[in-house]
């Protein structure tokens, strides 16, 4: 059993790495300081087929596998997280429901421009009162003739408010089933009257990502905008989230790899007590641990992606990969700042940004606590 990527996947990795080094690295400071959405970079990612890696060519995608997509997210995050999370939210959250559960018409009309990277996709699940408790969704969709009328508020939504956002697939209560809210997924185009976009949040990290609150006031969309069957929304987003978790693990691995590489350069240059700090055991052990943990997280995430590609159950592995990789990343970033000492606390040092970008990975797309609940449930207890 040799853990090795196929040549095609190695080439994908090499291409995305070159792209991230050539196109993103020179703009890292600007992205962090100005926080402006990187339209130019995203457009180029679209031209190269990165925005539609796992979708078939007949839907405008690149016909790649899920593993290649996870590797792309990882390679982007190794340099900077904005483009990585934009891609992740676009594919795993925004485009997935349309691809897995949409009708042929929806795929042709909505998914094709998404897969080509001409438009961006978003998914609206989280609400002020429905975070981990997704079942407590308050947003409603009521059928009025041949239209859904949507009302409610969604928070922390990525990719829904850019100039190229196609719209958002929202979870909305469409009825009651055995006393529980029956949730459906409905696609709401951005230009629909009543689709209100709040200003971008000021965030601890991911400064340039387009993350906002959205609200819907009597927002009317055609009845045909429902994705799949009425009441199947909960099952749909659980399947999409399984995929999203593997990609978030990719983000965490990339971020941690970025930390490791920054540290590897610094410890050889930084001299204390007359020697490069790389010669001190305290530093060497930190880096040995960091590299080991990254390797473990990568193996786990790639395995989960390979299971998904093979069409096998992967809920447990996806949750494990997300949990382990995000906590590993936080620890790696913490140690990276420690190794840089006071400089690590300074904004202009990449490790301080990696540190701030790391925390959200333990929260978004299912907190660490939720991942543990999922894993325990999968264990059969």
């Amino acid at each position: 059993m040799l853990f090795e990527l196929a040549e095609e996947e190695r080439l994908f990795r090499s291409m995305v790495r070159d792209f991230a080094e050539g196109e993103i690295r020179p703009k890292v400071d600007e992205l962090w300081e100005k926080g402006e959405f990187p339209y130019g970079i995203i457009e180029k990612m679209g031209e190269l087929g990165i925005m539609g890696i796992p979708w078939p060519e007949r839907y405008g995608g690149s016909g790649g596998d899920y593993l290649s997509y996870v590797i792309a997210v990882e390679e982007l995050a190794r340099v900077e997280s904005t483009c990585a999370i934009t891609l992740e939210a676009h594919i795993s959250l925004g485009s997935s429901p349309l691809y897995y559960f949409g009708t042929e018409e929806q795929k042709q009309e909505i998914l094709v421009p998404l897969a080509r990277g001409e438009k961006l996709a978003a998914f609206g699940l989280t609400e002020p009162e429905a975070g981990s408790d997704a079942g407590n969704t308050k947003t409603t969709a009521v059928l009025d003739g041949d239209e859904w009328v949507i009302n409610g508020t969604k928070c922390f939504i990525t990719n829904a408010g850019t100039d190229i956002s196609a719209g958002v697939t929202v979870t909305a209560v469409t009825g009651q089933d055995d006393g529980k809210s029956a949730i459906s997924n409905i696609f709401v185009p951005k230009d629909t009257p009543g689709y209100n976009i709040a200003p971008k949040y000021k965030k601890m990290g991911w400064h340039a990502s387009d993350t906002r609150e959205l609200s819907f006031s009597d927002c009317r969309v055609p009845a045909s905008n429902i994705i799949g069957k009425q009441g199947e929304g909960f099952c749909q987003f659980l399947y999409c989230l399984d995929g999203g978790r593997i990609a978030i693990a990719g983000l965490a691995i990339g971020n941690a790899q970025g930390c490791l590489e920054e540290c590897m350069k610094y410890v050889k240059e930084r001299v204390q007590f007359g020697k490069p700090i790389a010669s001190f055991q305290a530093i060497r052990f930190k880096l040995a641990d960091m590299a080991t943990q990254i390797e473990l997280a990568r193996n786990l995430a790639y395995k989960a992606a390979a299971l998904r590609d093979a069409g096998k159950p992967h809920t447990k592995e996806a949750a494990m990969a997300k949990l382990f990789a995000s906590e590993m990343c936080m620890a790696a970033a913490t140690q990276a700042v420690q190794i840089f000492g006071g400089y690590g606390f300074m904004d202009e040092y990449p490790v301080s940004r990696f540190f701030r970008d790391a925390k959200i990975l333990e929260i978004g797309e299912g907190t660490s606590e939720i991942q543990r609940i999922v894993i325990a449930r999968e264990l059969g207890i």
């Binding site: 080439l11 090499s14 792209f19 690149s62 350069k265």
Partner: protein, 262 residues
Amino acid sequence: MDMVVCVKRVPDTAESEVHIDSSGRDIDKGRLSFGINEADNYAVEEAIQIKERDGGTVTVISLGGKESDEQIRMALAKGGDEAVRLEDPAFAGSDGLAIAKALAAAVKDLKYDIIFTGALADDDAFGAVGVAMAELLGVNHAAYVKKVEIAGDKIKVGRELEGGLLEFVEMDLPAVLTIQTGINEPRYASFKGIKLAAKKEIELKSAADLGLDASEIGEAGAWAKLEKFTPPVVGEMAEILEGEPEETASRLAGILKEKGLV
């Protein structure tokens, strides 16, 4: 315009510590990452841009082991049509000339108007392969090319000279051009391009397939033999200036002037 591009897989030593290996005749490559030689990347781009503008074909050739397929396929993914890889234990120990002999043997039966190579390899930095190949094939060549203009069966090329100057020369085709970095902006391969390239066949040729005798190639056919690597030794002639920068700079200027070097 039918074109051939020669590419080389080289270790990335820009940001790595380089150590001499136990043989003393190579560097330890165990921990290095590899990629296409930088100038070759520009050569690939130049060929593909010409193909896109004027039509024609681009054949990618590399001399190296199986792992070189990665660099070949990336060039195919960007727009190359066909590929040949030359592999034979007999190629070991080749210098620039011996490599040129193998490459020349591989291209002589192909239909070509222009053969591109990088101007200089990042690893051994001989800068000899392209020029030697032109000599062996009996065709024109230009080295350190930073501009290519095609007019019928002639080309006009700008060669980089010191100080950023360009020397323009016109020549008949076919010709070998060794490409300098910065001539263009190399593209990234697209995902679809990579998928298509992964399915393409890379033709494999041994020394025997090329009709080459063992005495002509590898160490036997090389004019230059690598004896050993050593770190630069501090010579006895060196004079180290010590003191404050203002003072040492002024003394250095004095010495340079005194020896008539400025």
